[in-house]
Symmetry: C2
Subunit: 205 residues, 2 copies
């Protein structure tokens, strides 16, 4: 397989997504988008549709900005939400919200859904997909939930937890892609980039 080096833009400010790219040895640059997510939440009540539309909006925003700067690149955008019994759960903005979210999630199974949108500046092709992982939490007491909240892992994370860190203590099982729970279904990115954009992510050291 020919080695093709293209600039890869990760249209996400998530430190978890950056970390998973780094750990996979993928060279990339971060581009931070500015999307009014609340507007989308009102418009799209279906969770899969919502994350796909948000990922697409981030991708298009990035494409538009980079075209102005005449930068050629592959753009990867993503958005992640948690769904519990049909209810869409996003990020918490303070400790009380984090507690309310975690109180709902403990002792239950929820869906972690990530939408991904991929394009290339000089290519009309746009691929939009989603991936769902089921995550099952152990039961925790209110005191334990507060102890967890003090770790600050809830900040900026859909569902107010981080599977890379302390939340491992109460994740009983997952069913699906584990990288998807961190915010990027890497096996899907690998397949899409290889098949649709001729870029093999395994090649990087």
């Amino acid at each position: 397989m020919e080695i093709i080096l293209k600039k890869i833009i990760l249209a996400s400010k998530s430190i978890d997504r950056s970390e998973i790219f780094k750990r996979a040895g993928i060279p990339f640059e971060v581009f931070v988008t500015n999307i009014n997510e609340e507007k989308f939440k009102t418009k799209f009540s279906n969770a899969v549709e919502l994350v796909k539309e948000l990922a697409k909006a981030k991708m298009l925003f990035t494409q538009n900005e980079l075209m102005k700067k005449k930068i050629d690149a592959i753009i990867i955008a993503a958005d992640t939400i948690v769904v519990l019994k049909g209810e869409i759960i996003g990020k918490a903005y303070n400790e009380e919200e984090a507690f309310k979210i975690l109180k709902k999630l403990v002792g239950e199974s929820h869906k972690l859904i990530t939408g991904i949108a991929i394009t290339e500046i000089q290519n009309p092709k746009i691929i939009i997909e989603s991936d769902t992982t089921i995550v099952e939490f152990l039961q925790l007491s209110d005191e334990e939930i507060w102890q967890y909240i003090k770790s600050n892992e809830w900040k900026g994370r859909a569902g107010a937890y981080s599977i890379r860190d302390k939340a491992n203590l109460f994740i009983r099982k997952i069913n699906g892609s584990s990288s998807n729970v961190i915010g990027l279904p890497m096996h899907k990115l690998y397949e899409i980039l290889k098949k649709e954009f001729g870029l093999n992510l395994v090649q990087f050291k």
Copy 2:
């Protein structure tokens, strides 16, 4: 819940196990054991029995050494293997072995089994358990397997891959504990330490 601080000894030289403890905010010290693993592999052909016996041997070795030094502590030992269609697969010792292992795993589902053994120096209680996670790999070409091997992630890892790193690209799904795939089923450690040893791992910041 009362905060009890006990010294925690991780009887494992695995950098992945140390990393998962660090990321969970658990204070610990590493103790490296010296067990003849090959002898156990001859004696125990059942995979679950094998990892439990190996974890127990590491735990007892550590307990014995620490008692000599009059150190009080909780000891956590673990051993991980991969099982594919009944065949027990351990670590590779060179690139050719890593290739042979990965060639078997691609396009298939395997079991990742970790045995854990826990005790406390001044406590006759010993808890030995195991945890199994099913891991499903995408298909990869021989060239891609070699590209992966060049990342050196195969070194020192059961099954010659690391779910924390580049192997995310070809892990289609897992069913079970994700921390177990890294080498420690953290939800089981959390439950055992809380119930049997009065130590709550969520308490640490």
